[in-house]
Amino acid sequence: MTTEQQTSGFNLKAEGKRVLQGSSGGRAEKKHNPVEKAKGEYDVIVIGAGLAGLTGANVMATQGYRVCLLEQHYNYGGMATWFRRPGGHIFDISLHGFPVGMKKSMRRYWSQEIADSIVPLESIKFDNPQFSFETQFTREDYTNKVVQAFNLERAHVERFYDHLRKMEYYNDDGQTIRQMFEQFFPGRNDVHRAFMEPITYANGSTLDEPAITYGIVFSNFMSKGVFTFSGGTDTLIMKMRKILQSNGVDMFSGAQVERVLVNKGRVAGVRVNGRDIKAKTVLSNANIKGTVLKLVGEDHLSGDFIQQAKDVRLSGSSCQVYIGIRQGEEIPFITDLLFCSTADHFTSEELCELRTKSRTFSFYYPKTRPHLKNAGFTIVSSNNARWQDWQGLSDEEYEHEKNALIERTVTHLEQYIPNVREKIDHLEASTPRTFNFYTQQSEGASFGTKFEGLDVSMKLSEHLPGMYHAGSVGIIMSGWLGTVNYGVITANKMAEYLHEAKVSHL
């Protein structure tokens, strides 16, 4: 039994309000084998229904391949997920927000209808002891705001953007983000904060990552604003499932893949819930380390490659606080996304400390789900976190830290909505331990891996023909857009492999 199961409970009362101590633990006993209706053989088995797995499955199905999608959780979406709580609350985990490129990717790899529901956030706010401003995060508006707030020369900021845009994956010169910021804005901790904080919240990166990762991610964002999916995460995933179904993908949830089967040095299928299913290719959307070290295992890969996978660092985890506003109550429009901190100065370390003073609030107004009559208000606070800080806590300490996190968060929120506490009827926190429990990501990783993970992910098929990986890796391929596109890139490689395999058999 995991600690998450032991410590979760629904009975803790505080200030007369219901305070849930973490998400509900435990998985229901299975009454039947979740994969009993699966066929005996597929061209492609996808392990994990995160956005990369879902998209990879769909691209392969539209190219005419027989695809089976296996998800260990009862829900699809991976970290693109949501949950419901009494009081009519629907909490979105990661809906706000992604770059404009998502619109094109949804149209190309899913449907025009999904693409049409992608809408820009109206407002993003920064508030901390060094500066405070509101922006739409479009290139023009954001540039105006930073030029004004920091008294910078406009042409210099434009030069910085151009520099970022020219950075390419294959031309990594080893410079860190910190060095690049010092080169362009020496000694300007406030400017570094404005440019770095949102990206750290988006993908867990620190000032010590390769500058190239920042160049690619920031350039994607610094365009037409930050976008969200109108209708909520549940609507998006439901639409995706319908499309997969109509494209003939067999989908099974509650399906725990034990290992990848290998025959004569090639992928031969998977063992799932005690059953062997044959497949010519396997696409793992599980964490890259788990994929290499557990699903495939040391027997089928070279020692060097195993070591390379072991050396991949994870990109950190998160805490979230889910705040439900009582049905019938309203909160004013503050902003959609609020990057706020009471820390005097910016450091990457402060952002993931156990008791960090920095967090981002995602405000979900009724506009998030325009199709619902009684859509309410929810607020989700996120902060970066380290597995090591949470993992070693005793049950008692863990409860204490979670309560303290909730209290700090509500107190912080009161700065922006003074009477909000009285309107809250649901409070709940998740930690790296919660993420670990639900997604089975080691160390509760919520942003995939550091830069070096991408190389391991991309080269997996060279070490074991037929075995592929897509998902959040290397910082570049993280976030909703990164993983969707990486699912496509990998599916394309798989289609080539299947074609070559077919040709060589003839």
Binding site: V59, T62, Q63, G101, K104, S105, R108, N485, V488, I489, N492, K493, A495, E496, H499
Partner: protein, 87 residues
């Protein structure tokens, strides 16, 4: 498929990928990237559509041959023999 049809096949794919792009005045000799707003995902889409529509396979080592319409024609001429243009 003749050379002109191969160009039309490529332009047809680009029009579907990027409906907002004006492809009416593309110079066949110049790089597509210099004339249109195409990123690496767009080129990947061209590769995937060639496979879907015409059963033509372009391994990633050959992506450079898709740089301009002229280079596309030279590269695809043999591969497109006997294929019908899909509109």
């Amino acid at each position: 498929m003749n050379d002109e049809q191969i160009k039309q096949a490529i332009i047809g794919i680009i029009n579907d990928i990027n409906p907002d792009e004006d492809t009416s005045n593309i110079s066949a000799a110049e790089r597509l990237r210099d004339q249109l707003d195409l990123d690496s995902m767009d080129f990947l889409d061209i590769v995937m559509e060639l496979r879907k529509r015409y059963g033509v396979h372009v391994p990633d080592t050959d992506y450079e041959h898709l740089a301009s319409l002229d280079s596309c024609v030279a590269y695809l001429r043999d591969k497109m023999v006997g294929k019908e243009l899909v509109s």
